[in-house]
Symmetry: D2
Subunit: 81 residues, 4 copies
């Protein structure tokens, strides 16, 4: 799912509708705040895309990005089955 | 699931954890705002309970409450399988 | 604002409308998840009420409840001016 | 604030922190769902940027985009004073 492109972990997910996409985003917001590591993310209707990198490390991919990506995957799986 | 008690439609649902309960609540908030009919609801960790009635009709159960309860059920099913 | 009643820190806040009340709740959810201490809270349209106590300490008020109450107040002030 | 660029209404707003940005986004989600018109939006920590256009009209700016932009401004003002 996740691809390493230009020093970023990238992925795009699709949901049933906006409501479901935003509920997913709310869970991601909760885990991001808890990890104190936040995504660069974009939403268009039922799609949510991510570009993860670590600003403090010079905008490259670090263990913190992999950890956030794993947490996002756990949440996503419940929405997409 | 839903019971009619003291002129209210009542139900209580349980989720995996707080994060999941609050994501469910976010979807309910979206549909409630869309229907312009809002619940009396309470959250404790992974539990969310509802008491639905229509204030404008004198705090009794109306078709608007049944419609909101149905919408809540549709959302809940995806979370609880 | 907060009152100690029956071993709980209690308060009720009022907002402009449901949308504002739920945005406030979203910020409280983020801080509660971060503190790993969650409220017993209820929302009816533009009102949000809290009953804080610490389950692990035998459902009494602890420093964790005071800390959560302070965090809630900081958020609330921005909404209510 | 809003600029018309490449058939899109664009704007970027900055908040105190992620928590505040996401609360703002939650209110925008509620109004977007109510209007049944959803933004192309992106969030990075305390920044939220928008690109509004109407897909059904061939991805150009319509009255629906101006209405959503106005609703977003009303919400934003409360956060940014």
């Amino acid at each position: 799912m996740w691809q390493e492109i230009e020093n970023q972990l990238r992925a795009e997910f699709e949901f049933k509708d906006f409501s479901q996409a935003f509920a997913f985003m709310t869970e991601v917001a909760l885990v991001a705040e808890k990890l104190n590591h936040h995504p660069d993310w974009r939403n268009v209707w039922n799609k949510v895309s991510f570009r993860l990198s670590t600003h403090d490390a010079g905008d490259v991919i670090t263990a913190r990005d992999h950890k956030l990506a794993e947490a996002i995957d756990l949440i996503r799986k419940r929405y997409q089955g």
